[in-house]
C-alpha cells in the first residue's frame, strides 16, 4: 500500500504538483490516472464520469508524458512527431516544425534522433505538448535533463496552457515557478 | 566539431561543474575523459602522464557515473554493489549496507531493484560513490530524479570527498551548493 485516501479535484486553469520523497508513489499515481496501470482501489472521474464511459474522449483530452521520452532513435524529430500529429491531434508538418522550434530544437528537425543529446531528446518529447490540444497534461518529471533556458521555456508553455483553460498535473523535484501552482504531498497519505 | 581548445586542470580538492545548454557536448566530454569514447583529437594527462601508460592505475583512480544507473533490476541493491565492491575497491558486505544507508535506502537493501522507483534506482548507483576510493569522480547529471533531501545528502558527500583530497568533475543543470565550485561553460569553446 503506497498511499490511501488521496483525493483531489483539478479544474481548468489549475496546476497541481505532486511532491514527495523518492519512491513515495508519484509515478504510480500518475500512471494510474492516465490509465496505464490498474489501481488497486479508488475512483477517477473525468468531467464527472468514469473515463471508461467514453474512453476515446478521455484519451483525446488527456496527454501523458512519462519518464521515457517515446522518441524513436531511428527517426528524425519531424518524423517522430508525425505519427503523434495524425493520431492524437490533426497537425500539419508546418505545425510540427513550429513546435520543434518552440522547444528550442531549431536546426535539429531532420537529423536522426540517435544523434541528439539527452536533453534534446527530452525536448522532442516536450514538443508534443505544443502540438497537443488535450485539456489535461500529466507530466512525470518533465524537467529531467533540460537546461536552465529550457526550463523557462517549459514553464512558459505550462503558463500558456493554463491561461488557455488547460490543466496540468505534474511531478518534479524542482521548484516550479508558476504563480497559481498548488502542491500535493503524497507523503501525507501513507 | 562540438568543442575545441577546451583545456583545464583539476587538482585534488577541486570541483568543476561543466555547464552549457542541451547538446553542447558535456556528456561527450565526460565520456571521453573516462575512456568510454574516442575523442577526435586532444590529450588527457593523469598525474602528468597519458592514462594508457598505466591504465589500471587510471581506472582505479577514476570513477564514472553516467546517465545510466548500471543497476541490475533482477538483483537486490546489496547484490548489485557486491560486484563493484570486489573489482573496483575492496569493500565488505557491511560497507555495502552502510553505503546504502548513507544514500537513504534504509530498508531497501534486500528487495529486487525492479521494485524501486526512478529516484531509488539512482540512489543505488550513488552508493558507489560512498564505497569507492577513487580520487576523481566523473558524474554526469548525478541529481537526476533525486528528491530535495537526497540532493542535500549528495552535496554533503561531494563536500566530504573534496575535504579528503578528492576531485570531482560533474555536469548538472541545477545549481550545486558547494563553496569552492568552479564552472566551465562549454558554450564558450565552440
Amino acid at each position: 500500500m503506497l498511499f490511501q485516501n488521496v483525493q483531489f479535484t483539478l479544474d481548468r486553469g489549475e496546476i497541481l504538483q505532486v511532491v514527495g520523497h523518492n519512491g513515495c508513489g508519484k509515478t504510480t499515481l500518475l500512471r494510474s490516472l492516465a490509465g496505464l496501470s490498474n489501481y488497486a482501489s479508488g475512483q477517477i472521474l473525468w468531467d464527472g464520469k468514469p473515463p471508461r464511459e467514453n474512453l476515446e474522449l478521455f484519451r483525446r483530452d488527456v496527454l501523458f508524458h512519462g519518464h521515457l521520452a517515446a522518441v524513436k532513435l531511428l527517426l528524425t524529430p519531424v518524423e517522430n512527431l508525425r505519427w503523434f500529429a495524425s493520431t492524437y491531434c490533426a497537425a500539419t508538418d508546418q505545425d510540427i516544425v513550429n513546435a520543434l522550434h518552440a522547444v528550442g530544437l531549431f536546426g535539429y528537425e531532420d537529423i536522426p534522433a540517435s544523434k541528439l543529446s539527452a536533453g534534446q531528446l527530452r525536448r522532442v518529447a516536450l514538443a508534443r505538448l505544443v502540438l497537443s490540444n488535450a485539456t489535461l497534461w500529466i507530466l512525470d518529471e518533465p524537467f529531467t535533463a533540460i537546461d536552465v533556458h529550457g526550463i523557462d521555456t517549459l514553464q512558459q508553455l505550462l503558463q500558456d496552457h493554463l491561461n488557455k483553460g488547460g490543466a496540468v498535473l505534474l511531478t518534479s523535484h524542482q521548484q516550479v515557478d508558476i504563480a497559481q501552482i498548488k502542491s500535493l504531498n503524497l507523503e501525507h497519505y501513507r | 566539431m562540438l568543442f575545441q581548445n577546451v583545456q583545464f586542470t583539476l587538482d585534488r580538492g577541486e570541483i568543476l561543474q561543466v555547464v552549457g545548454h542541451n547538446g553542447c557536448g558535456k556528456t561527450t566530454l565526460l565520456r571521453s575523459l573516462a575512456g568510454l569514447s574516442n575523442y577526435a583529437s586532444g590529450q588527457i594527462l593523469w598525474d602528468g602522464k597519458p592514462p594508457r601508460e598505466n591504465l589500471e592505475l587510471f581506472r582505479r583512480d577514476v570513477l564514472f557515473h553516467g546517465h545510466l544507473a548500471a543497476v541490475k533490476l533482477l538483483l537486490t541493491p546489496v547484490e548489485n554493489l557486491r560486484w563493484f565492491a570486489s573489482t573496483y575497491c575492496a569493500a565488505t558486505d557491511q560497507d555495502i549496507v552502510n553505503a546504502l544507508h548513507a544514500v537513504g535506502l534504509f530498508g531497501y537493501e534486500d528487495i529486487p531493484a525492479s521494485k524501486l522507483s526512478a529516484g531509488q534506482l539512482r540512489r543505488v548507483a550513488l552508493a558507489r560513490l560512498v564505497l569507492s576510493n577513487a580520487t576523481l569522480w566523473i558524474l554526469d547529471e548525478p541529481f537526476t530524479a533525486i528528491d530535495v533531501h537526497g540532493i542535500d545528502t549528495l552535496q554533503q558527500l561531494l563536500q566530504d570527498h573534496l575535504n579528503k583530497g578528492g576531485a570531482v568533475l560533474l555536469t548538472s543543470h541545477q545549481q550545486v551548493d558547494i563553496a569552492q565550485i568552479k564552472s566551465l561553460n562549454l558554450e564558450h569553446y565552440r
Binding site: P112, S114, K115 | N38
Partner: protein, 245 residues
C-alpha cells in the same frame, strides 16, 4: 621506416601515388584480360567432353581464386586500421569487402551456370562450392554489420574485429568442409581431376588469373580514390583538383 608508414596513411600522398600506379596498372589489366579472353574464348580447343561450355572457367576460376585472396586483403586492411587507426586502411577494408562479396557471388553464379550443363543441376554440395558459399556468408556478415551501425567510426572497427575473427576461422572452415566432403562424397557427381587440363587451355587461364589480379588492384584503388575524395572534399588539395577539372 615510420615516416614512410605514416606517409602511406596520408590521403593526399595516396591519391598522388595511386594515380601514377593506375596509369601503369589499368592498361596492363586491360591487355591481359583482352588477350586472355580472346585466346580462351576463341582459340583454345573445345573440351572433348564438355564441348564449349567449359570456357566459362576463364571467368569462373579467376573470380573464385580472387574471392578468397580478397578476404585476406580485407582482413589485413582491417588489422592495420585497428592497430594504427589509419583512415586509408579502413577505406581499403570496406572496398575490399564489397568487391569480395561481389566476386564470391559471381563465382557462385558462374559455377552454377557451368554446373547446369555439366552436372544437370544448378547446385551440389561439393566441398569447394560449400566453402565458397560460407565465404559469401562471411562477406555478407561484414557488410551487414557495417550497415547496421549508425556510427561509422565504430562500424569499421567492429568490421575489422569480425574480419580478423574470420581470418582465424577460414582455414579451419576450408579444412573441415574438405574433410566433410571426402567423407560424404555423393556417388553421383565428381569434379574433374585438376591435372587433366591441357596446356593449350591452361595458358589463357593463367593469363586471365593474372589479369584479374591486376583488375582487382585497379578496382580497389579506384574505389578508394573516390572515397578519399569524398572524405576530404573540404580540404585544399581536393578543391584544387576539382577546380582543375
Amino acid at each position: 621506416m615510420w615516416t614512410w608508414f605514416h606517409k602511406l596513411g596520408s590521403p593526399k600522398w595516396f591519391y598522388d601515388i595511386s594515380g601514377k600506379l593506375l596509369n601503369f596498372m589499368a592498361p596492363v589489366a586491360a591487355l591481359l584480360l583482352i588477350v586472355g579472353a580472346i585466346w580462351g574464348l576463341l582459340y583454345a580447343p573445345a573440351d572433348f567432353r564438355q564441348g564449349n561450355s567449359y570456357r566459362i572457367i576463364y571467368i569462373h576460376v579467376p573470380v573464385s581464386v580472387l574471392s578468397l585472396s580478397g578476404y585476406y586483403i580485407m582482413a589485413i586492411a582491417g588489422a592495420i586500421h585497428l592497430i594504427w587507426k589509419m583512415k586509408l586502411a579502413e577505406i581499403a577494408m570496406r572496398s575490399a569487402a564489397r568487391m569480395g562479396a561481389g566476386l564470391t557471388f559471381l563465382a557462385l553464379v558462374t559455377g552454377s551456370i557451368w554446373g547446369k550443363p555439366t552436372w544437370g543441376t544448378w547446385w551440389v554440395w561439393d566441398a569447394r562450392i560449400t566453402s565458397e558459399l560460407v565465404l559469401l556468408f562471411l562477406y555478407l556478415g561484414i557488410i551487414a554489420l557495417y550497415e547496421a551501425y549508425d556510427n561509422k567510426v565504430s562500424a569499421s572497427r567492429a568490421c575489422a574485429v569480425l574480419a580478423l575473427v574470420g581470418t582465424v576461422n577460414i582455414p579451419i572452415i576450408y579444412k573441415s568442409v574438405d574433410w566433410w566432403y571426402s567423407l560424404h562424397q555423393p556417388a553421383t557427381i565428381k569434379l574433374t581431376q585438376k591435372s587433366s587440363i591441357d596446356p593449350s587451355m591452361f595458358y589463357p587461364l593463367l593469363i586471365m588469373i593474372v589479369g584479374f589480379y591486376f583488375f582487382y588492384g585497379v578496382a580497389l584503388m579506384l574505389n578508394m580514390r573516390t572515397e578519399v575524395l569524398i572524405n576530404e572534399r573540404k580540404t585544399r588539395w581536393v578543391q584544387d583538383i576539382v577546380e582543375r577539372a
